[in-house]
């Protein structure tokens, strides 16, 4: 089954062992400065840093490609839009399409920047389990608790939702099979017919999900879960010297990219 959200590649590389908070801060800082600095040389610095991080993560290229493929059309679209609509003196015109050297340069730059952004972002999601990521985000969002934002509860909700996506997919497959055995047909007919064919799948799926949510809430209460109470963790987040190295290296990359 294809996981489409937050693909994680299990591993034990140096990057895998880093604190999710440090990784998140580093990636955010890189992404922001990536958009501030608009020159090819700056882009090359970020690309180099991304490639280095990617090499350190020891994630097979296949996995990166899988994370990247869904975004390919976005990159393509960006390229085309810039190519066609960008300013500059056209050297070739047909209808509303004007090709200019400046436009080509801009198109190449913007789509490459998107590729580098995906590269850096996917290093984070590929080396960090979704649950560690939500834990890290909850920690980083702690100041918001002063404003009564229930950050821990939100993080728990996200964790539970992620946890049940594979379960739901398996259940949906089973229900679809059961209805197919009763003659349901999900593959033919127009859009309306196909949408209607899904009713016998979605109704049981919702009912099962609500029932499970009830059970889960009861089970959590039975194990003394109370919202708003500070909970300890089995694996507390612990930042070490490696994380300091990451942040210093990130700062170095940013300074380098801004200076060259």
């Amino acid at each position: 089954m294809k996981a489409t959200i937050a693909q994680y590649y299990p591993g034990s590389s140096a990057l895998h062992r880093l604190d999710p908070r440090a990784k998140f801060v580093a990636v955010t800082a890189l992404a922001v400065t990536l958009f501030v600095r608009d020159s090819f040389i700056g882009l090359a610095v970020f690309a180099g840093a991304g490639a280095l991080a990617y090499g350190l993560s020891r994630v097979p290229v296949r996995w990166f490609w899988r994370a990247f493929r869904p975004l390919l059309w976005l990159v393509g679209l960006t390229f085309l839009a810039q190519l066609i609509f960008a300013p500059g003196k056209p050297f070739f015109s047909i209808g509303f399409i004007h090709l200019s050297w400046r436009g080509m340069e801009l198109a190449a730059f913007l789509s490459l920047r998107l590729v580098v952004l995906v590269l850096i972002g996917s290093v984070l999601t590929l080396t960090t389990p979704p649950i560690a990521l939500t834990d890290g985000l909850a920690w980083l969002g702690r100041p918001l608790r002063r404003l009564r934002v229930p950050t821990d509860e939100l993080a728990l909700m996200v964790t539970i939702a992620l946890r049940f996506i594979p379960t739901l997919l398996v259940e949906m497959d089973t229900i679809m099979r059961a209805q197919r055995a009763r003659g349901a047909d999900f593959r033919s007919g127009g859009l309306v017919a196909r949408a209607r064919a899904l009713v016998p799948v979605l109704v049981p799926l919702f009912v099962l999900s609500f029932r499970r949510a009830d059970d889960l809430a009861l089970a959590m209460e039975a194990r003394c879960y109370r919202p708003g109470v500070v909970r300890t963790r089995l694996h507390p987040l612990r930042a070490g010297w490696r994380d300091a190295v990451l942040l210093v290296a990130t700062a170095g990359v940013i300074v380098l990219a801004l200076l060259v």
């Binding site: 099979r177 059961a178 209805q179 055995a181 003659g183 017919a193 049981p204 009912v207």
Partner: protein, 290 residues
Amino acid sequence: MRPAGDGEPRPASAPGGAGMGLSCLGVSFCYEEGGTQLPALRDVNFELPAGGSLALLGASGAGKTTLLQVLRGLDRPDSGAVLLDGVEPDGAAYAGLQREVGLVFQAAEMQLFAATAREDVAFGPRRLGWPEADVATAVDAALDLAGLPAGDFGERHPYSLSGGEQRRLALAGVLAMRPRLLLLDEPFVSLDPGTRRDLVAVLEHLKASEITLLLATHDVDLAWSLCDQRLLLTDGCVEAAGDWDFAGAGGSLLAANRLREPFLVELWRRLGRDPGSAPRTSDEAAKALA
């Protein structure tokens, strides 16, 4: 709804008319996960004559559910073929025969979705494209057969029924399509003894009406009382097929697969009688011992 079926239903006299014969020839099937092939069935061969009954036994993960899915045509075997009434899968009549194979899923109540019991049971027959009058007859007959008289239960909301009633309603949804071969996947799991007894009565009735039955279960006592034959699966391979056999290694084979001998067979063995002639039911046992 758009009719998907082949038109006219068979006469409503018996739930399934004559049973359907089933042959499984060298069926293999692999699941694919992350690029690796996980074999679930390896060269499965067996015959089930029309009107016969077969218990599909095996430890959890032995491939019982996969085999049922393949037999119903929800999964296509990687090699080998499932013959229905001797017809090969590429035959023109095959799709029609496949519609006469009913599959009751494990925890079948998860398939319920309609606003009334009657509507839910009518889903299958309508997909077969039967005229509405035939659908109504088939639905009422199936509800009665499943022990949920249409008058009392027809207009109830499926989710207002008890767990056991939901299970039987799901069974009715399959029976309404008048299957000639009925595959059941662990139908007795998480039923209370009363509901279980009711369900056994339904299956005995189906068996008497000559519908072919194939029952995947962990319950060897029920399997022994209901089924003429058994098929034992281990890691997707057929370990034993055909008539029950408790002589020699027969009994220990069950134990080796995290099962046990049926209670009455064990009793006969303990009493020093021939386990091969053990009674199928407690009635028979009482008569034999009286």
